[in-house]
């Protein structure tokens, strides 16, 4: 006899449960958490450095560094006196809620206001996993091309803000920045777009101001 067993369970369920616990923990410390995603080499670490420089008077900021291997980025940030914890995924192409919960156990968050999670460089998988963040933010560097929102829609859909980085290179490349913005806005009409250059510092102020406002809104709600 054939028996039907109802399971009706999402494969994301366990991850989402842990993400919710992480969220509760961050809320209990009144911490704002940004999950920063991009392809490898788009400028996540450089943007984090710029963001911290722009906001350090206002907020105490910590970084959770996700990489497949190595601690190059964490060392770079620690040299600047930024509290950083390195997570090595050991091959996995994204961070998940469980890895962040391990960071929670091994990191002293006291006195911090803002945590930036630098996800593993990848435009696909990081968008699928909640880690307990307040918002997802993505970086696309201008040389990656204006077709990327169409090719990797989920990340654009999930992100509250898009930083188009390396705009200092625009005169030398064929990326059509207006088409890029149009493509991103079609997929996510509410996405906030900033044109930045971590190299020259252009656009960082606008992005930092917006983030500051978001943090203030959130903290007002707690």
């Amino acid at each position: 006899m054939v028996k039907i067993i109802n399971v009706r369970q999402s494969v994301y369920e366990e991850n989402n449960k842990i993400a919710m616990k992480n969220r509760e923990f961050f809320d209990s410390l009144n911490l704002f958490v940004v999950n920063l995603m991009s392809a490898p080499g788009a400028g996540k670490t450089s943007i984090i450095e710029r963001t911290i420089d722009a906001l350090k008077e206002k907020f105490k900021i910590g970084v959770i560094e996700g990489d497949i291997t190595s601690s190059i980025d964490a060392e770079k940030l620690e040299k600047k006196g930024i509290p950083t914890i390195q997570l090595n995924t050991g091959g996995e192409c994204h961070l998940d809620a469980n890895m962040i919960s391990q960071a929670i156990e091994n990191f002293n968050f006291n006195g911090l206001d803002l945590i930036i999670i630098e996800n593993v460089g990848n435009l696909v998988c990081p968008a699928e996993f909640k880690v307990g963040e307040d918002m997802k933010v993505m970086i696309l560097s201008a040389p990656e091309g204006h077709d990327k929102p169409k090719k990797y829609p989920l990340m654009f859909m999930e992100s509250s803000a898009l930083l188009i980085n390396k705009i200092d290179l625009l005169p030398y490349i064929d990326t059509d920045i207006d088409a890029l913005i149009k493509n991103a806005k079609e997929i996510n009409p509410n996405i906030q777009i900033f044109k930045t250059s971590a190299k020259t510092g252009e656009g960082i102020k606008e992005w930092a101001e917006w983030l500051k406002e978001k943090i203030a809104q959130r903290k007002g709600n707690i």
Binding site: M1, V2, K3, I4, I5, N6, V7, R8, Q9, S10, V11, Y12, V124, C125, E128, K150, P153, L154, M157, E186, I187, N188, P189, N190
Partner: protein, 87 residues
């Protein structure tokens, strides 16, 4: 024996890959030779302005009825193990 799985269209899950890895990891377990019956769930969204539900064509999240840009994704973003058929 069969496992029914619903795969959202806008997830990174791919039926061919699930089948490939399932056949490897199920070897030697009671799930070996279980049939995977996978269904792709089309993506849809509900407009937060006019309330109409529309399918997300070309991943564009703009309401085709009223043009509003605020929508909530209803389906297509989850992967659900629905039922097991066992003997």
């Amino acid at each position: 024996m069969a496992i029914h799985i619903k795969i959202g269209e806008i997830t990174g899950f791919n039926p061919e890959s699930i089948q490939f890895y399932f056949s490897i990891i199920s070897k030697g377990t009671i799930a070996e030779n279980a049939k995977l019956i996978m269904e792709i769930v089309p993506s849809s969204a509900k407009c937060l302005n006019c309330g109409k539900v529309y399918s997300i064509q070309e991943k564009v999240l703009i309401c085709p009825y009223c043009g509003d840009i605020n929508s909530e994704i209803l389906t297509g973003k989850d992967v659900i193990i629905e039922t097991l058929e066992v003997e």
